[in-house]
């Protein structure tokens, strides 16, 4: 059933374009039925999971490599699955209306559903390898979705950036997974988690580093945070889904998932808390300076991801509970806010906070949803975000290290969070009404259902925190922590330090909101700093990569056969020659005894023929000499017991000469094309290579060789192959498959030759002169018409 849930997304994804052309306007709602069904199915598992059970299904995939499709449902994956399918339901309905009329809407649904399937597979996988496959699938579908409006150059660039960063992390992750699997002795997560902690393992640090690299790139942690705001080039439903609620949390999911096995060490604590805190501050400060609505939301998502990383770094029981609570709260309000940003764009045509004000009378329902969600973000009582923030402060205060530093960082971040929350809750809705590019009005249910429901859930969970806590969060936190977690959630903890800090940040944040414009002007230096930031580094790296590959292509892949040959041969001669010289004892098989006259004569003649063929001045002479050479070689075969080979050689040689005469006689006579120096260089390389071959043969034939398998063929030829010519029995019986391949090659040659000579259509003589001529003509033409070439 779990497997069907995952696969059905992919099946429906494949059908979506077709379906879209059938059902048109209502496709979004129709497709949304699938995530709804998935949501309901997994919701039915809640009682089982919240009682501490897990569900596991396995299907063999590559049994020989211990790779299987196995799925695990526990508290953590259940939380994610419900988020993915629940928000997915609203997103599909939303996208159907938001992107209405887009010519490639069917394709959009395909990618979106494909992403949903990948994401479900990712969080449900019990096998590291299949988890990795789904991980990469989310990367690819995300790339397709960011670059959905691919006619735009800038969008393509941004999609590319996201892909590069996450794929880079993905590679690291794969290596880390392989190490993890080797260290734990299993690729099944359930077995790894049941096993001992790996923090003492000798591979722990490299493994941790690589896995963290994967998780950090995916979850946009500093210094990789820059790709996430750029991913806002995607259509808004995508941003709402992938870049706030689901995909960027894949890294967080991974950290949470592996916390029981890899967490708890000093390096885990240090790296995660510090990077997390840094990301949190970077994200929220950049958010406070942005004016684009989606950009502010993106940076505040970076902040949330940093917070989650920091909490997972702390790794206490409280922190685990705080992390899953914060995660749920964030998914609810951020999904809603992104959809509201989309509504503002779609219904009012505004994308920037500076262009919008006083819409509350025109869009009352949207205003309500926006305020609920934004206040939850700001952590205002009695919304669910408040509980998340209180738990966060408690976890930081009771952390095992750097309580003071982390508390200051968290409170500072919170001040700005309040600013951002106020921006979202107040700026577009209150104050003087500005005329917007489109006549602003509340949208229909498809667009509004998502934000309203999610925001209302934020309020509901805030008022009745026991519902999420009992049914979902405690089980999820237990999976993160590795042991059953007992805490519960409450709206009111009495007047304590976290509450006071909340009040402090709230008032300071509101103060800051009053002076938002001034704050932005005074912090203009941050913009200047960004030219030294990681994004600039990324761009430099990419440019460097391009210029390096251009350089190396020009140098190595210059299209000149002789350069390739010289490079290859020189490398072979150097490496093999070096290896030969390093041998302890160079024992060459030099033995001139037992020579027979006819053999010496043939070899001598062959040597003369070779020399003559190289120095021949005319083509016909060369061909004649080549023929003579072939017959001489055939004689050698016959001398040394290879009758069949000798006959074949004679026949092939005959036909070869025939062929050469037939084709090449029309070619120009030999010319001296190379300079003397070039010829000397080539001769040196040729002689060195030839000498090396001679030395190698003398070495090899002297060494005691391994037993040849030929004795098998000699023994079995009559008894099993019923043939007395062993060579032929090998060709047509023992190794017949090889021979079959060979005559296929011959057939290919025949077809190739035939088509080269017969299919002459469209062949134009193209020389440099012709090309120049063509370019010249093109220029003249464009000069006439005034169109740039």
């Amino acid at each position: 059933m779990v497997m069907i849930a995952v696969l059905s997304c992919f099946v429906l994804a494949a059908l979506a374009p077709r379906l879209h052309s059938l059902t048109g306007r209502q496709t979004g709602w129709l497709l949304a039925l699938l995530p709804a069904a998935i949501f309901l199915y997994f919701a039915s598992l809640i009682p089982l999971i919240s009682s501490g059970e897990t569900v596991r299904h396995a299907y063999q995939w590559l049994p020989s490599m211990a790779i299987q499709f196995s799925f695990l449902v526990d508290g953590l994956s259940l939380l994610f699955v419900l988020l993915i399918s629940g928000i997915g339901f609203f997103i599909l309905a939303y996208a159907g209306r938001y992107q209405e009329g887009h010519p490639a809407l069917g394709r959009f649904f395909l990618f979106l559903l494909g992403f949903m399937g990948s994401m479900l597979g990712l969080v449900l996988s019990d096998n590291l390898i299949s988890l990795f496959v789904f991980w990469e699938l989310t990367t690819i579908s995300s790339f397709m979705l960011i670059g959905f409006n691919h006619e735009d150059d800038d969008t393509r660039k941004k999609a590319h950036q996201g892909l590069m960063v996450t794929v880079f992390g993905g590679l690291a992750l794969m290596t880390g997974f392989i190490m993890l699997g080797m260290a734990a002795g299993s690729f099944e997560l359930s077995e790894i988690l049941a096993g001992p902690s790996l923090t003492e393992h000798s591979l722990y640090l490299p493994m941790l580093g690589l896995i963290l690299l994967g998780a950090f790139t995916k979850s946009a942690q500093t210094p990789f945070h820059f790709w996430l705001p750029n991913a806002m080039a995607a259509p808004t439903p995508v941003s709402a889904y992938l870049h706030s609620a689901t995909m960027v949390k894949a890294g967080i999911y991974l950290l949470a998932r592996l916390h029981p096995t890899l967490g708890g060490s000093a390096s885990w604590l240090t790296i995660l808390t510090l990077i997390g805190a840094l990301t949190m501050l970077t994200g929220i400060i950049l958010a406070s300076r942005s004016t684009g609505i989606k950009r502010v939301l993106a940076y505040s998502t970076v902040m949330a991801l940093g917070t989650l990383t920091m909490l997972l770094g702390l790794g206490t029981e409280k922190a685990a509970l705080a992390a899953v609570t914060f995660l749920l709260a964030h998914a609810l309000y951020k999904g809603a806010l992104f959809m509201i940003a989309g509504i503002l764009d779609h219904e009012a045509g505004v994308k920037d906070f500076r262009d919008v004000s006083g819409l509350r009378r025109l869009m009352p329902k949207t205003t309500l949803a926006a305020m609920l969600a934004a206040l939850s973000l700001a952590g205002v009582i009695p919304l669910f975000g408040f509980i998340g923030k209180e738990l966060l402060l408690e976890a930081v205060l009771s952390g095992s290290r750097w309580q003071l530093g982390l508390t200051i960082a968290t409170v500072t971040a919170n001040i700005f969070v309040v600013l951002v929350g106020a921006l979202l809750a107040l700026k577009p809705w209150f104050g003087k009404t500005i005329t917007t590019p489109k006549a602003a009005h509340d949208p229909g249910p498809a667009l509004l259902a998502g934000p309203l429901t999610l925001a209302a859930l934020g309020l509901l969970f805030g008022l009745m925190p026991a519902i999420p806590a009992d049914y979902l969060l405690r089980a999820a936190a237990s999976a993160v922590y590795g042991e059953p977690v007992s805490g519960t959630l409450a709206l009111w903890h009495g007047i304590n330090l976290p509450l006071m800090l909340s009040v402090l940040s709230l008032s300071l944040g509101l103060l800051l909101y009053r002076f938002w414009t001034g704050w932005r002007e005074h912090t203009i230096f941050i913009e200047r700093l960004s030219q030294f930031g990681p994004e600039a580094g990324y761009n430099k790296l990419m440019q460097g990569l391009v210029s390096f590959s251009t350089w190396q292509t020009k140098t190595l892949q210059n299209g000149n056969l002789r350069h390739y040959l010289i490079t290859t041969l020189a490398t072979v001669v150097l490496l093999v020659g070096w290896a030969v010289l390093r041998l302890d004892k160079i024992a060459l098989n030099i033995d001139f005894s037992g020579l027979q006259l006819q053999e010496v004569t043939v070899v001598g003649l062959l040597l003369i023929t070779v020399l003559a063929a190289v120095t021949a001045k005319s083509f016909l002479v060369s061909v004649a000499l080549i023929g003579a050479l072939g017959f001489g070689v055939a004689l050698i075969y016959v001398f040394f017991s290879a009758v069949d080979v000798g006959i074949t050689q004679v026949l092939v040689e005959t036909i070869t000469v025939l062929l050469l005469v037939l084709v090449l006689y029309r070619l120009p006579e030999f010319r001296q094309l190379s300079s003397r120096a070039n010829r000397a260089r080539d001769a040196t390389i040729a002689l060195l290579s030839g000498g090396l071959i001679t030395v190698l043969i003398l070495l090899v034939t002297n060494a005691s060789s391994m037993n040849s398998i030929s004795s098998y063929f000699l023994e079995k030829s009559v008894s099993e192959g019923y043939g007395r010519n062993v060579v032929n029995v090998i060709l047509v019986d023992f190794r017949a498959l090889d021979t079959l391949g060979e005559i296929f090659v011959l057939a290919l040659v025949a077809i190739g030759v035939y088509s080269m000579m017969h299919l002459r259509t469209g062949v134009l003589p193209v020389t440099n002169a012709d090309k120049r001529h063509a370019v010249q003509k093109q220029r003249e033409k464009s000069a006439k018409t005034g169109v740039k070439p």
Binding site: I655, L737, I743, V753
Partner: protein, 146 residues
């Protein structure tokens, strides 16, 4: 325009006419005895191809092409089918792909005939080689001819 290689030598063309059947017969002989004595599909095929090329040189492209009746690429096709088909009978008797199968047919008067998949395979090789070599030679001669 006639081929530059058409030497129009009476001796050569008479010799070729006489030799050709003998050479083809010889190539078949080499093919069939290949399992026990020097010979086989490769060698037989090359001999046959060389013999037909001789016809080409002694007379002209048209004559050789007419004598062969079919296009050499068709020979290649038949050869490949025979050779690949020889891998299949083993599957029907439950042995693994390409295992040699031997059948003995008892014909009246002629005595017994040994038939086997390696023989079919070798005939396939023979046809493949004849076809490929002749395709190359004919194509080039044709280009010369036109």
């Amino acid at each position: 325009m006639t081929s530059r290689f058409n030497m129009r030598s009476l001796i050569l063309s008479t010799g070729a006419t006489l030799l050709l059947p003998l050479l083809i017969l010889f190539s078949l002989f080499l093919l069939l005895r290949g399992h026990n004595e020097p010979g086989g599909g490769f060698i037989g095929g090359l001999v046959a191809a060389a013999a037909i090329s001789l016809k080409l040189f002694a007379e002209d492209y048209r004559a050789a092409r007419t004598m062969l009746r079919v296009h050499p690429l068709q020979l290649v096709g038949v050869g490949l089918v025979l050779a690949a088909g020889a891998s299949l009978p083993a599957l029907f008797v439950g042995e693994s792909f390409f295992t040699a199968q031997w059948w003995t047919l008892n014909l009246p008067i002629l005595g017994s005939l040994k038939l086997s998949t390696p023989l079919i395979f070798d005939i396939g090789v023979y046809l493949g080689v004849v076809g490929s070599v002749l395709t190359v030679v004919f194509t080039l001669a044709e280009a010369e001819h036109s």
